[in-house]
């Protein structure tokens, strides 16, 4: 099983174990803040930082954490990290901080982070946990970028990014002429719709792949 896992490419691994579209974790923030690429990337980086650090701290503390109170302990660790990240963002990227609003604080209750602490970091060593956090954080960020790419493009017709520290524009591309953008994609409805379609696409990809693997297995058996 583990061999088969390693054979999968980075991208298909991301699709298979995607926390957002595959496991439906951390949906709230991915629906709410994916109106622009900037927000998505900012949020993604914040989550990666918290996730990697919390995985490291949890795996270090796991041996001395009493079993009965491990959830509160993890939550306190995560909440402290989120407070730190929030303060840093408020200081260095104030624009991004106000755009993301309450969702910075709500990283605490992002199921991915507590989920990884509970399911992985508490049972594995520090290095593996950090790697796992990075991997999960990246696929979360990847999902956010996919969502915001579609929503920003269809909703405003412009793809743009700016430096969160100075607010200077990095690039801005108008791909859909003015008057032809579909405004509903920047709103709530668009968020749910985009998410539904992407989730269905990931499921379809998985189904097709599984069928292929089953067919391969059968062909092998027939040969033998």
């Amino acid at each position: 099983m583990s061999e088969k896992k390693q054979k999968r490419s980075f991208v298909s691994e991301m699709l298979y174990n995607n926390p957002v579209f595959g496991l439906y974790l951390g949906i709230c923030s991915s629906l709410a803040i994916t109106t622009t690429l900037n927000n998505a990337i900012g949020m993604g980086i914040a989550v990666i930082v918290v996730l990697v650090l919390s995985n490291i701290v949890v795996s270090l503390l796991a041996p001395i954490t009493p079993d009965e109170i491990h959830i509160p302990v993890y939550i306190v660790i995560i909440a402290s990290l989120v407070t730190i990240v929030g303060m840093l963002m408020q200081a260095f990227t104030p624009q991004l901080f106000s755009a993301l609003g309450a969702f910075i604080d709500l990283i605490v209750v992002n199921c991915i982070i507590l989920g990884r602490a509970e399911a992985y970091a508490s049972k594995n060593n520090v290095l593996d946990s950090a790697k796992d956090g990075l991997m999960m954080g990246l696929s979360y960020t990847f999902s956010l970028i996919a969502m915001s790419f579609i929503r920003q493009l269809l909703g405003t017709g412009v793809l743009s990014m700016s430096n969160p520290m100075t607010n200077a524009e990095i690039f801005s591309l108008r791909l859909i002429p003015e008057g032809y953008e579909i405004g509903i994609f920047t709103q709530q409805t668009g968020a749910f719709l985009t998410f539904a379609i992407l989730a269905a696409a990931v499921t379809a990809y998985k189904n097709a792949n599984d069928k292929k693997e089953v067919a391969k297995q059968k062909a092998k058996e027939a040969q033998a």
Partner: protein, 193 residues
Amino acid sequence: MSLSSLFTIFISGMLINNIILSKFLGICPFMGVSTKLSSAVGMGLAVIFVIFGASVFSWFLYYYALVPLGLEYMKLICFILLIASFVQFVEMFVKKTSPSLYKSLGIYLPLITTNCAVLYVALDNITQKYTLVETIVNSIGVPAGFMLMLVIFATIRERLDSADVPEAFKGNPIALVVAAIMAIAFGAFAGLV
């Protein structure tokens, strides 16, 4: 502070700024528990109770402990701990009084801790500088909207189960499409107040 302003807070929390459709919070239980009407009602009531209790406790904690001590920046850590212990309490209570409800809520009961709606309402009451009465009204209105959505959604999903849906859309994706359509409907409440 008149009665009408309290009513405004209630209606805007419940319908206009519906926590699921316009704030995108509490989606996890919304997706997970809304497959059966009975568990949707149970979950809704549990969430109303937890949000109400946790918000009121948080309000007292913030204004009578954190502000006098100058520790406002600790609110995130304190609130989440308070919510976690409160949920634990509710869990024990439900387990004792109604084992069947406990069974049907399953994993989602402890997960109320990580229901972003709970933490959001507790923090929002502070950000909006609500007084105690306003906090109470808001903390009932918002989860009432949550429960309303959960119940409406559960009834729709019970019918969705027997509908002919494309393979890839089965389960959660089609539910999200339904949510998208409901968001349009609830959009009509904007500008009500």
